[in-house]
């Protein structure tokens, strides 16, 4: 029982950065129909920004660095959308995907140019460097903080998407871009904003894992975060933020459980899940079958 709590918290904490990355990916996919492969380098750069901007062990300094990482990566994201994706938009999603891949490599190169290739590490903020005992189980303070951050970001995205006019426009453009345009919506502007939000989230996610991971270019394709994020948007249903949330957290818990119960399956369980979904429910948990037909048109 104690074990179960520890496993659950660790699993959710593992799932939170994955969700934060995946939510941006899936939003961008919904609006631009681009699988933004460059998200991996956004994520890495977010973590790297923390390694250079973090001043001291205080929680305030850490939060400040997270914000800088988010805003810095958002700026890169907005520039990317305007300079790379906008010109490619008319050429279709295959070309856009290649553009995303090129951007991924270019940003990765840029990151090694600026930060070098030596792995970096960041200390936990001192206030979160320890563990609690919950009902006898040891639970890391930072893990608990990640869970809280996940709740805040999920709630923030929900509010943004369902309670603001921007959110209504985002949902409309991702459902039927042409009709949204025909109602006078500036879909291009919506795309840029969504790309900025997605990049911001990737930067924040990178910053969040800075204390728990060694930071080197391997992060950009890491099997702990980026691959699960891509899997989460497929399993959750492309374009669905709630789907990405459920899938990322479930995958985190699954991974954490399998690590405890059947360590030989750990790191492999994701692929079983995604294979099962691709076979039996290719539109994902909350994806609509209508979306795939709309895309085929």
């Amino acid at each position: 029982m104690n074990d179960l709590i520890a496993v659950l918290v660790a699993g959710v904490a593992q799932g939170v950065p994955v969700f934060v990355v995946a939510s941006g990916l899936t939003l961008i996919y919904g609006v631009l129909h681009v699988l933004n492969f460059a998200h991996g380098s956004f994520f890495l750069i977010g973590a790297l920004i923390v390694t250079t901007t973090l001043q001291g062990p205080s929680l305030g300094a850490f939060l400040g660095s997270i914000l800088l990482a988010g805003v810095g990566v958002m700026a890169i994201g907005v520039l990317s959308e305007v300079l790379v994706f906008r010109p490619l938009y008319k050429a279709g999603s295959t070309v856009s995907f290649l553009g995303a891949f090129a951007l991924f490599l270019a940003l990765l190169g840029l990151a090694t140019l600026v930060w070098g290739t030596n792995p970096r590490t960041v200390a936990y903020p001192s206030a979160l460097d320890g563990s609690f005992s919950i009902g006898g189980a040891r639970v890391g303070q930072y893990d608990l903080a990640l869970v809280a951050v996940g709740v805040v970001i999920a709630a923030g995205l929900w509010l943004l998407l369902t309670k603001t006019s921007l959110g209504t426009r985002v949902r409309a453009v991702s459902h039927d871009r042409t009709m949204a345009l025909a109602l006078g919506i500036r879909a291009g502007q919506v795309s840029t904003i969504v790309f900025g939000i997605g990049a911001f989230l990737a930067g924040v996610a990178g910053a969040l894992i800075a204390p728990v991971s060694s930071i080197d270019e391997g992060l950009a394709l890491s099997s702990d975060y980026m691959l699960p994020a891509f899997i989460a948007i497929i399993v959750g249903g492309l374009g669905s933020v709630p789907g990405a949330l459920i899938a990322a957290i479930a995958l985190g818990i699954l991974e954490s459980l399998s690590f405890r119960i059947a360590p030989s399956l750990s790191g492999f369980s994701y692929y079983l899940v995604v294979a099962a979904f691709l076979m039996f429910r290719p539109q994902g948990l909350l994806g609509s079958a209508a979306r795939s037909t709309a895309m085929a048109r």
Binding site: T168, H175, L181, L183, G184, I185, A187
Partner: protein
């Protein structure tokens, strides 16, 4: 272009192509303030293509298109919407992932320099909307979708409404309701309407003039009652006729 001051829409020598296939040939149309004008023709005659050309959707065009004296040709579809064209497509295209209220609110961004109609005022004007407003877009019947699509197009106070076969697939009783709603629109919203239809009784009830298209050309134009009384014209250009 040589048009009178109350011309809302004018096209001259309008040609349109899907890829290399030409679908419109020299179409001249004029819609004046407050008018409801019919656009008739069989399946494939070019009615929807005319709307696509006006909206700059899917087709490449040549020729002139003016809305209240301003050139539309070559503008982007969102700019054309903001200049004051409301488009109600054949398949309605309600956002099924939004509520009806959100479908309507959304269109308030399309206003350009005009003031949007408040959603609640719109509901007052079209009372049938009242019971739909809280539903999701995927919980509407065909007739309800049509009504919401029309309302959505009106929110931004367009000068011109393009209605593409609003009665298609609807039961007669519902068609009557839609006709009553459309009838009130020009006065209520200061809008002119171009109505693409194959349902001649519906067109007869609503429009003052008609243009008849065949294979992308205007083959007849004149007062609706003349066309409605001429069985030979109808046989030639429509699938169904009403005059005996």
């Amino acid at each position: 272009m040589n048009t009178t001051h109350d011309t809302v829409l004018a096209t001259r020598e309008l040609n349109a192509w899907y890829g290399s296939a030409q679908a419109l040939f020299g179409v001249d149309l004029e819609v004046r303030a407050g008018e409801v004008i019919g656009l008739l023709g069989r399946n494939g005659a070019g009615k929807s293509t005319t709307f696509n050309a006006i909206m700059n959707l899917q087709v490449r065009t040549s020729g002139e298109i003016e809305l209240t004296g301003r050139t539309l040709a070559k503008r982007s579809v969102d700019a054309i919407a903001r200049l004051g064209v409301g488009w109600v497509p054949e398949d309605r295209r309600i956002f099924t992932n939004l509520t009806v209220r959100e479908n309507l609110e959304l269109a308030r961004f399309a206003c350009g320099d005009r003031d949007a109609v408040a959603v609640d005022d719109l509901v007052d004007s079209l009372p049938l909307l009242d019971k739909l407003i809280g539903r999701r877009g995927n919980q509407l019947s065909g007739g309800e979708q049509q009504l919401v699509a029309i309302a959505r197009a009106l929110i931004s106070r367009p000068r011109l409404l393009l209605l593409d076969e609003p009665t298609e697939g609807l039961a007669p009783l519902i068609v009557e309701g839609i006709a009553t709603a459309i009838q009130q629109l020009p006065e209520m919203f200061d809008v002119s309407i171009l109505l693409a239809e194959q349902n001649l009784p519906f067109v007869t009830a609503l429009t003052s003039r008609v243009y008849v298209l065949e294979t992308g050309r205007v083959v007849h134009t004149g007062p609706t009652d003349v066309f409605a009384g001429d069985a030979e014209l109808q046989d030639r250009y429509l699938s169904i006729s009403i005059a005996s």
